[in-house]
């Protein structure tokens, strides 16, 4: 059984919602990323989403765009991202890791070589923002061969027909993008998300994560009531930006932010 599936089954048994933090690998300095990942797990992260820096992150807002620019200043490549996962796995063999990024760095490495390397270092899933199911046939079959879950996005604009198609290609979990827009720019509307999630549940048995627009404990707790996973990215990356000149403070600072969300989610769940 894949680590991602195991993780969701255990959480379900415990009546908990997964908390998935996103950071861009190598931001602001490559050496601090592994420590940040461990600190996030200690603060309550269940799955880690690690961004592959890309020069042209078209689906991201200014916050993550700048994170990519900081990482690329240090020439952080896909090879380096995989090496960060390898180092993380020296101490943590349980927490699933999902790589998130754009198609071109994967194409440059080659799908096959990527899959072999990713499997070897302990990557569990990959989300390619600009590779919809229409362009994913070859990618999907190679990832399947190497037991890497392909995570897909569903958007507020996605029709029911497309949801069904995406469900056929999706492995691990499905990531619902809660707003029309790029990352980190707006707050989500819980009622609207609730309605879409209900439709999506009719198309798939996979766990559903919600992301884009979750910025604090309150919004995390609200989303936790309707989703199987809460994804938080820009709020953390904004904290990285503020600490860019003091990277040694980041593991503690990010852990503090995430712990607040975890606490809000758990308190809310207990109160019900």
């Amino acid at each position: 059984m894949s680590r991602i599936r195991q993780c969701f089954e255990k959480l379900k048994a415990d009546g908990q919602t997964a908390l998935i933090p996103y950071i861009t690998a190598g931001d602001p300095e490559p050496w601090v990323t592994v420590s940040i990942l461990h600190a996030l797990v200690d603060a309550g992260a269940n799955i880690l989403e690690l961004g592959i820096p890309f020069s042209d992150p078209m689906s991201d807002g200014p916050v993550i765009q700048k994170a990519c620019e900081r990482a690329l200043k240090n020439d952080v490549s896909l090879h380096d991202v995989l090496d960060i996962v390898r180092q993380f796995r020296e101490k943590d063999t349980e927490t699933p890791i999902v790589l998130m990024g754009y198609a071109n760095p994967l194409e440059a490495m080659g799908y096959k070589e990527f899959a072999i390397n990713a499997q070897k270092v302990g990557v569990d899933g990959v989300l390619t923002v600009d590779m919809p199911p229409e362009e994913s046939d070859e990618f999907l079959s190679i990832m399947d061969e190497h037991d890497i879950d392909t995570i897909f996005l569903v958007a507020p604009t996605t029709s029911v027909e497309r949801m069904a198609k995406i469900a056929q290609y999706a492995r691990g979990f499905i990531y619902y993008v809660s707003i029309k827009g790029v990352t980190g720019t707006a707050s989500l509307d819980v009622a609207e998300v609730t309605e879409k999630m209900a439709t999506l549940r009719q198309c798939t048995d996979l766990p559903l994560g919600v992301g884009f627009g979750i910025r604090d404990g309150k919004s995390a707790a609200e989303v936790a009531e309707i989703a199987d996973a809460v994804v938080v990215g820009s709020a953390l990356v904004r904290c990285i930006e503020e600490h860019a000149s003091r990277p040694e403070e980041l593991p503690a600072a990010l852990a503090g932010l995430l712990a607040e969300m975890r606490h809000a989610m758990n308190t809310n769940a207990t109160a019900k």
Partner: protein
């Protein structure tokens, strides 16, 4: 070795692919929007009312057909093939770009969209978009790299006069590719009410096919005009390539004419060997950017690298996917000329023919000036003069040490 196909019109396939190029590589939020656009385009492209409205605008508003012009002085000076120029520089707004913005804006109107966005490099597409938006009474936002805003100040002012909001893009290399990123971000955020007019044959399907179709009027007219004027087809076509819309517009109606050679001319900048250029077809590798798979300027890790060209309109790290495919099957040849060579051609044409060409088009002229002397005097070379040079006065004057 050219592989002669006779079914060029059946590309792209129904998934938007030209061989392994093209496709629909965008985030999920935009997928329904590009399907809706494809459906609307397929409905209207053969619709008699739509075509009539477009033809009328192209005739009365743009001034089509644009003539072909035998550049006798320049031909005489170069000594070789006769050089004909397709005068897209005479179009309203000064370049071929308006052929496409008319088509897309009319489509936007039929789709009930009230807001138009566009990206621009040299500013020609931005001006052409702002122009049609003004006429149709639509809100218009143009994204332009901050670097380009500086070097094309005149066009920025033209867009503002026309009522468009010009947003300088400060991210990345602050040029055309970053403007495209920002326009895509705007589209994702305002997808319901917004129509994105892409200015070249790039982006996700159906843009490369749709923009090609709108620009093919260049080649259709030129083919008839040259047959009328000379009684035969040209021996070679020459056009500059940034994203490749003026080139594909000229080439496409000639693809089945096996005897017609085609040369797409990229910007070699300071020289291909310096790495400071904008020539993905000549010196790049295939990858995925801005919605399609094509040749890109990228490093070994798949990061897009910064480009350079004296001409803002060529300063782009990708190229339309149909060109990538035509290169691989050998139907068209892709070459490059440097900033200096383009500048020389700019001055030569200005002095010998009294026509001031755009710096983009000067790349095509520079290659034609190399090609013509290798051909005999009965041969015919047809060059797309895609735009006029008024917008480039600042750039050229600055090189001569002048400031306005």
């Amino acid at each position: 070795m050219a592989e002669q196909l006779d079914n060029y019109d059946s590309y792209p396939d129904d998934r938007g692919h030209f061989g392994s190029y093209g496709g629909r590589f965008v985030g999920e939020t935009l997928m329904e929007a590009i399907y809706a656009l494809e459906e609307a385009y397929n409905r209207y492209k053969n619709d008699a009312d739509f075509q009539a409205e477009m033809d009328k605008d192209l005739a009365d508003f743009v001034g089509r057909p644009s003539p072909i012009y035998l550049a006798e002085n320049w031909t005489g000076k170069l000594g070789g093939a006769q050089i004909y120029l397709k005068r897209e520089d005479l179009n309203h707004t000064g370049a071929h770009k308006v052929n496409n913005t008319i088509g897309q804006a009319l489509l936007a109107k039929r789709m009930g969209k009230k807001r138009i966005i566009a990206e621009t490099g040299a500013g020609q597409h931005g001006v052409a978009t702002a122009t049609v938006a003004a006429r149709l009474g639509m809100e218009c936002v143009v994204y332009m790299g901050a670097e380009d805003v500086q070097r094309q100040a005149m066009n920025v002012y033209r867009m503002k006069l026309l009522g468009a909001e010009v947003i300088p893009v400060e991210s990345g290399s602050r040029t055309l590719k970053d403007a495209l990123n920002e326009a895509l971000r705007d589209w994702v955020t305002n997808v319901d009410e917004t129509f994105y007019i892409i200015g070249t044959v790039a982006g996700p399907h159906p843009y490369p096919a749709m923009v090609r179709d709108f620009q093919s009027i260049i080649g259709r007219e030129a083919r008839n005009q040259i047959l009328t004027a000379t009684g035969r087809l040209p021996d070679a076509l020459v056009a500059c390539i940034g994203g490749g819309s003026n080139a594909i517009g000229l080439f496409h109606p000639f693809l089945k004419d096996e005897s017609v050679a085609m040369y797409g001319v990229e910007g070699a900048g300071h020289g291909i060997e310096t790495g400071q250029h904008s020539a993905p077809l000549c010196a790049g590798t295939p990858g995925v950017l801005h919605g399609n798979r094509t040749y890109l300027m990228q490093d070994d890790n798949g990061q897009i690298i910064e480009t350079h060209s004296i001409s803002a309109g060529l300063d782009y790290p990708g190229v339309g996917p149909e060109h990538a495919w035509l290169k691989d099957i050998g139907r068209a040849q892709y070459v490059s000329v440097t900033d200096d060579e383009a500048l020389q051609a700019f001055h030569d044409l200005t002095r010998t023919e009294g026509i001031i060409p755009a710096l983009e088009s000067s790349h095509a002229l520079a290659y034609a000036s190399k090609l013509a002397p290798t051909m005999s005097a009965e041969k015919i070379l047809l060059v797309n003069l895609s735009g006029r040079g008024d917008k480039d006065m600042h750039t050229v004057a600055a090189l001569a040490g002048l400031n306005f």
